[in-house]
C-alpha cells in the first residue's frame, strides 16, 4: 500500500481558499475537512450535492479522508438519478442546502463552524489506490455509465496538468470557474487543481459576465479562469472588462482558433485548451490560438490499435479508449483527425445521432424523422440540433414534450420541422445528399429557416 498525503505540503498559514468574507489558510481548510469527516457515516457512499465550491471541496476531501466513495451524477434528472441509486445502494445525500434536495434519499447537511482558532492537525495519509469518486458519462446509448477514480491516479493527472499550466502562468493561480463542479472538467480544473497543485480555490461559481468580472477582482494575481467555449464567447461579446487574467482554460467542446485568438486579444491572457473526457480526465493541452497539436501531460501514453487510440499509463487503472480518431507524431504529441462519426456535442454534452434518432422514432405518433445539424449564418460554438419529423396529427409541442422526457433538453431540436415525408430511397435509406437537399429547401443561404 502506497500512502500519499491528502493535501500538498504547502505552508499551513498560506492562503488556500477565498470565501465571500474571508481567506482560508491550508490549516483552516484541513480543520474544516476534519470537522466534516467526523460527522460522516462509517460506510456507504455520498452524493455530494453542495452548491458552494468550498463546501463541495471540504466535503469531498472529508469523504476521501474517511475512505468513503463520492458519487457525482451527471444531472439530477429522475431517470439518471434512478440509475445512480441502483448502482450505489446505501447512497446518502450531503449538501449545503437548507433542505434535502433529493427527498427520496437519506440526507445530511454540511454546516461549517466558524471557530476563531485553527488547530494544526497532522496531515491525513491516503492510499494511492483508494477509489474516491464515481463519475458518470451520459453514454452514447443514453444509459448513464459509471467510471471510478482512484486518488493517486487523479492526483497525478492534476499534477501533470499543473506542471504545464503553471509554467505558462508563472506559478500557481487563484482559480475562478464558471463550470459545473460535478463534471470531470470542473472537478479537475476548478476544485482539484487549486487544492492539490498549490493554487487557490474560490467558492463562487459565477454565471453572468458581470459576476465573472467581480469574482476575478476579488482574487490576487495570478488568476486563472476556467470556462467553456460558449460561455467564453458570451463573455467576449459582453465587452465587460476583466482584471488581468494569467490564463483562460477551456474544455468540454471544441474551441476554434478564431475564438481562442479573440479571447487572448480581449483579455490579454493565454488561452489554454484541455483535451480529455470523463473516462480519461485531462490528458493533453494546447494553446489553441497558435497550436494545432496537443501536448500530452506527463504520465500519459497514447497507443494506436487500428483506428482506435488508447490512453495508457500510471494515470489510468485500465487503458481508456479515446472518443476521437487521432494521429500521433514522433514526439508523442497528437492531432485530432476526426471526431467520431455519429457523435454530437451541444454545449459540452455528448450524445449520438443514432440514439437521438432512435428516441425520436419510438415516440407514439411519429412515423419517421431524423435529427441533423442545421446550417448557421455564422460559426457558432454551440450548435443546436434540428429535426425533420413526420407525425400526422401531432403538433410540434406534443413531440417536443415527449422528447424532453427521454433526452437532455440541450438536444431538443430547434427548429423541429414537421414535413409530410422524408426523401428515403428504394431501400428505405436516407442518403446524405437527399437530406442536404431537403435542408436547403427549408433554410436560406444565411442559415435561417426559409
Amino acid at each position: 500500500m502506497t500512502l500519499i498525503p491528502l493535501l500538498p505540503d504547502t505552508p499551513p498559514d498560506q492562503p488556500f481558499a477565498y470565501l465571500r468574507d474571508s481567506v482560508v489558510t491550508r490549516a483552516r481548510f484541513l480543520a474544516h475537512v476534519s470537522e466534516v469527516a467526523d460527522t460522516l457515516p462509517d460506510e456507504g457512499c455520498l452524493l455530494n450535492l453542495c452548491v458552494d465550491r468550498y463546501h463541495f471541496a471540504v466535503t469531498l476531501f472529508a469523504a476521501i479522508q474517511r475512505g468513503l466513495l463520492t458519487v457525482l451524477p451527471n444531472s439530477l434528472a429522475p431517470e439518471h438519478l434512478a440509475k445512480v441509486m441502483q448502482d450505489h445502494p446505501g447512497l446518502q445525500v450531503v449538501g449545503d442546502q437548507a433542505d434535502n434536495p433529493v427527498p427520496s434519499l437519506p440526507w445530511q447537511a454540511v454546516r461549517l463552524q466558524a471557530t476563531a482558532s485553527t488547530p494544526h492537525l497532522p496531515m491525513p495519509m491516503v492510499d494511492f489506490h483508494q477509489t474516491i469518486a464515481c463519475v458518470y458519462t451520459s453514454g452514447s446509448t443514453g444509459t448513464p455509465t459509471a467510471h471510478y477514480k482512484q486518488f493517486g491516479r487523479v492526483r497525478l493527472g492534476i499534477l501533470g496538468g499543473a506542471e504545464v499550466l503553471w509554467s505558462k502562468t508563472g506559478g500557481p493561480c487563484a482559480v475562478v470557474g464558471t463550470v459545473p463542479i460535478r463534471h470531470m472538467y470542473g472537478l479537475e480544473s476548478s476544485v482539484l487543481l487549486p487544492v492539490l497543485a498549490g493554487g487557490m480555490l474560490m467558492e463562487d461559481v459565477p454565471f453572468f459576465p458581470a459576476d465573472i468580472a467581480d469574482s476575478l477582482a476579488r482574487l490576487p494575481a495570478p488568476r486563472l479562469l476556467v470556462i467553456t467555449p460558449f460561455h467564453l464567447r458570451k463573455l467576449i461579446e459582453s465587452g465587460i472588462p476583466l482584471p488581468p487574467v494569467a490564463a483562460i482554460l477551456s474544455a468540454t467542446a471544441p474551441l476554434s482558433a478564431e475564438l481562442a485568438q479573440a479571447a487572448e486579444q480581449a483579455f490579454g491572457s493565454r488561452l489554454v485548451e484541455i483535451y480529455g473526457s470523463t473516462e480519461t480526465g485531462q490528458i493533453a493541452m494546447r494553446e489553441t490560438a497558435r497550436e494545432t497539436a496537443w501536448q500530452r501531460l506527463s504520465g500519459v501514453q497514447l497507443v494506436q490499435r487500428g483506428e482506435e487510440t488508447w490512453a495508457e499509463g500510471e494515470l489510468f487503472a485500465q487503458p481508456q479508449l479515446l472518443n476521437d480518431v487521432v494521429e500521433i507524431s514522433a514526439d508523442g504529441d497528437f492531432r485530432l483527425i476526426d471526431r467520431k462519426a455519429n457523435m454530437v456535442n451541444v454545449a459540452g454534452k455528448r450524445s449520438s445521432m443514432s440514439f437521438l434518432n432512435a428516441t425520436l422514432l419510438q415516440l407514439p405518433g411519429v412515423t419517421d424523422g431524423v435529427f441533423f445539424v442545421p446550417p448557421r449564418s455564422q460559426a457558432q460554438d454551440v450548435e443546436r440540433l434540428a429535426a425533420f419529423v413526420v407525425a400526422p396529427g401531432k403538433t410540434r409541442e406534443e413531440i417536443l414534450a415527449a422528447l424532453r422526457a427521454h433526452m437532455d433538453p440541450v438536444f431538443l431540436p430547434r427548429p423541429l420541422l414537421l414535413i409530410d415525408e422524408l426523401p428515403r430511397d428504394g431501400n428505405g435509406k436516407l442518403l446524405a445528399r437527399s437530406l442536404t437537399q431537403l435542408v436547403n429547401t427549408h433554410f436560406d443561404a444565411k442559415g435561417e429557416t426559409a
Binding site: F207, S238, P409
Partner: protein, 96 residues
C-alpha cells in the same frame, strides 16, 4: 393605500412586448412574441429555455438596456421566473 404591483403600468406593457420580441429573435424561437405567457416560467418546459439561452438573453439585455444581470443572492431564479419578472427587473435597472 397599497399599490397593486401585479398589473404592469402602460410603459411596462410596451417594454414587456419589446423584451418578448428580443427573446424570440435572440433564441430563434418559432413562436410569435405575443405567444409568450407573461406569467409562465421562462426556464424549463414552457419555452424550453435552458441556461445557454439565459446567457444569450443576458447579453441582449445588456446591449439593449444597459442592464448587467447578476446572480447575487440567487436572483437569477427570481428574474427569470417569468417575462413579467424580467421586465420589472429591467424597468428598475435600465440605464438606456
Amino acid at each position: 393605500m397599497e399599490l397593486d404591483t401585479t398589473v404592469p403600468s402602460q410603459p411596462d406593457a410596451a417594454l414587456q412586448s419589446e423584451i418578448a420580441g428580443l427573446i424570440v429573435t435572440a433564441l430563434n424561437l418559432e413562436i410569435a412574441p405575443s405567444e409568450i405567457d407573461p406569467e409562465a416560467p421562462l426556464y424549463g418546459d414552457g419555452l424550453g429555455i435552458d441556461s445557454i439561452d439565459i446567457l444569450e438573453i443576458a447579453l441582449v439585455v445588456s446591449k439593449q438596456y444597459g442592464v448587467q444581470l447578476k446572480a447575487d443572492s440567487a436572483d437569477n431564479t427570481r428574474i427569470f421566473a417569468s417575462l413579467r419578472a424580467l421586465t420589472a427587473h429591467i424597468a428598475a435597472h435600465r440605464t438606456k
